[in-house]
Assembly symmetry: C2
Homo-oligomer: 477 residues x 2
Amino acid sequence: MSESIPHWLTKQADLAPGKMAIEHEDGLAISFRELKESSQHFAKKLAQLGITTGSRVGVLSANHSDMVIAVHALSYLGAVAVMLNTRLTDNELNYQIHDADVAFVLVQEHGPQLDASVYTFSEIKKLEEKDVFLQTELNLDDVFTIIYTSGTTGFPKGVMHTYGNHWWSAVSSMLNFGLDKDDKWLAVLPIFHVGGLSIFLRSVIYGIPAYLLEKFDANKVNEAILTKDITIASAVPVMLKKLTDALGSQTYPDKFRSVLLGGGPASRSLLEKARTHKIPVFQSFGMTETSSQIVTLSPDHALDKPGSSGKPLFPAQLKIDPSENGIGEILVKGPMVTKGYFNNKSATERTFVDGWLATGDLGYTDDDGFLYVVDRRKDLIISGGENIYPSEIETVLSRLNVIREAAVVGVKSDEWGQVPVAFVVKNGETTAEEIMEFMKNHLAKYKLPKEIHFIDKLPRNASNKIVRAKLLDLLAE
Amino acid sequence: MSESIPHWLTKQADLAPGKMAIEHEDGLAISFRELKESSQHFAKKLAQLGITTGSRVGVLSANHSDMVIAVHALSYLGAVAVMLNTRLTDNELNYQIHDADVAFVLVQEHGPQLDASVYTFSEIKKLEEKDVFLQTELNLDDVFTIIYTSGTTGFPKGVMHTYGNHWWSAVSSMLNFGLDKDDKWLAVLPIFHVGGLSIFLRSVIYGIPAYLLEKFDANKVNEAILTKDITIASAVPVMLKKLTDALGSQTYPDKFRSVLLGGGPASRSLLEKARTHKIPVFQSFGMTETSSQIVTLSPDHALDKPGSSGKPLFPAQLKIDPSENGIGEILVKGPMVTKGYFNNKSATERTFVDGWLATGDLGYTDDDGFLYVVDRRKDLIISGGENIYPSEIETVLSRLNVIREAAVVGVKSDEWGQVPVAFVVKNGETTAEEIMEFMKNHLAKYKLPKEIHFIDKLPRNASNKIVRAKLLDLLAE
């Protein structure tokens, strides 16, 4: 049966009106009452544009409290927030805007050329308010956000998150970490990713402040953790590495209880270094489809289960299927898992098997039930916490007539974990510079291959599939 | 959409196999793995009797780990646990057994003459195991327990609790209290009441031990809290009073973070006394239908909101309707609220209005949204945390031919909060002793009137309703 709960921000503003919801590095802070009131005013101004129940509205912004207010405002209208990645090119953004049928995009500042009506947060604030009904309850089955993930076909798919997905994700995390009413969660991950967004929803559900940083700067993050009573921070490995490097001989305070580490595996040396700085690390496995972490390893097991991603959170389940010698595709299930991709029934049907989400990643579980991820889904490259699918880059390359075929692999990088490298078989005269110039218009900067190698033909196996391992061997040579 | 989660005990046994689930005062303890295994074995033995999905099985026991195992065993079979109050007479028990269509009753020891097949826990343990499917998931919409409440008609009604009701209750409580993985919850309330049962479900959901006491003894409870690392205890006001009386000059340890107080209002003097003993008291309002607390007042507000029951828990809502001068019936809504009474559609329809549960209690909310209960539902008498409905006693009295009519009121008691007192208009020759003798066969001891007064006629108003206030005036005279 479909459950409803009171609108979570209205509720928290009622339970803890004067408590801080968002704190900024400049010392400014917004209470739950203020966040509710700002969001409700913002909602009534958005209504003036015709945004209403079910409208899909793009949100394109760096981390800022205005962005959080905009997202809550959309929830008051029953509209859907399509969270857009600021690192994407206009072409990539417009693909998502068309796919999600987005008529309005809310931005921090004008710039991108988008196929939609674009308003800055400031422009919205200057609008008159329309007297409309604001949601007093949230139906857990209603879709709240759409976040695109590229996936294996080269075409991004819009992952739908219901209010229930976000709710269960927050509750699952609480059952794992516990909840101290004095918790304060540092938010430096981009809010347009589910890992960043979820911090602001947990803040509202738990009644704790999120400490918002606009961008990652190791010294600023360390300073915040050392002096601002922060107890939890979400990060990706590349960030954790920079944090430990910048700490010198300092250690994190006792009240700091965890770094929740997502976006790819952490090396043993990084974990050991974190330990010397008294940084408890919860490694996790998750993806946009699981509304952030779904499998988590507590610091207690960091050393006796090295390389493991841990166990599925309380309401979640995991299985390996089909299993050959114990290794197989990782399937997950639970109320935080998306119900599917927006307007893409075939992708949804391909991804779900009897209610289980097929992650595409390969792994196994040990006798104690701990998950080990052996291989990332379909050659996924994780670079600085961002997912890059080779197929997406290959699709762009294949549009050039001078290229016969191309393959992309992830290469280890000390700084980013991995970076993409392209192998190209020419079909005519071209240069690496020409190819890069073309790609810059179609791919976000972080997706651009760091090297382009020209080869005579791609290594293929008997069934004509590209053998990426051989490409890596070529590089080694 | 109907959500499923992994079976909560199996899951906790997987996440924290070696952690203690139940601790006893004799020092014995059961880990989550042991609790799971015992419950699964017990389930397979119950299956031997033919107990299966949907079977309604009575559980009649004082607080004991066997009782907890039996309840979890029923969940593995998908059977429904009908929790029977050990204080009831055989007649009262059989009413519930017939009403819920119970074929089997599990007891601690033989004794009561029940209209069902009765097995002790020990007898079950001696049975062979049947190889049956044990639930691996819990569908949150499935009914897990039925607990009877008397209500206003004099006939008890079976309140159905789904797994979801219990789940949401546990999550709501966690959002209110926070959750420390070192929490330990003292369980001395009867497990046959929802307030006691819920402690053992929270234990499994949170992964924390329940400290089980078979019966209330102020010195034993205090000793446990002072020496056993207990952080939370559930109690009713009469218990809290005895605990503070027995404490002498001692105070509770700093790590003890709350008494969750249910089952009726606490006096200001009791709250002040608790404070001198460093006992943080969370007063609450709830009932069987709300799966324990649904409105809670934190200790922060005990003094600035004296007499208030607090605010509805995060996923819950409250309204006063219809409101005259701000006072009206208290209606509540939320995913912890029962979907209705077993096999009693008319009572369910009477109780629910547009998805809201009409509590029958009168109250108002102040400008900050804090609830004040003005009058308990339909003259409800709360004696030592047990609910007594005057109508139930009156119905029994009316069966005696020598009684023309009778009315029961609650009278203040230092020891019990309230006790019932009966006013009887005779129809022939009888004595108070005769009447008491008759009632003893039909009413639990705690429901027996402490006094019987013979009067010439009952005071009635213009519409012929009994004016109970006038009966209280008679007593005062």
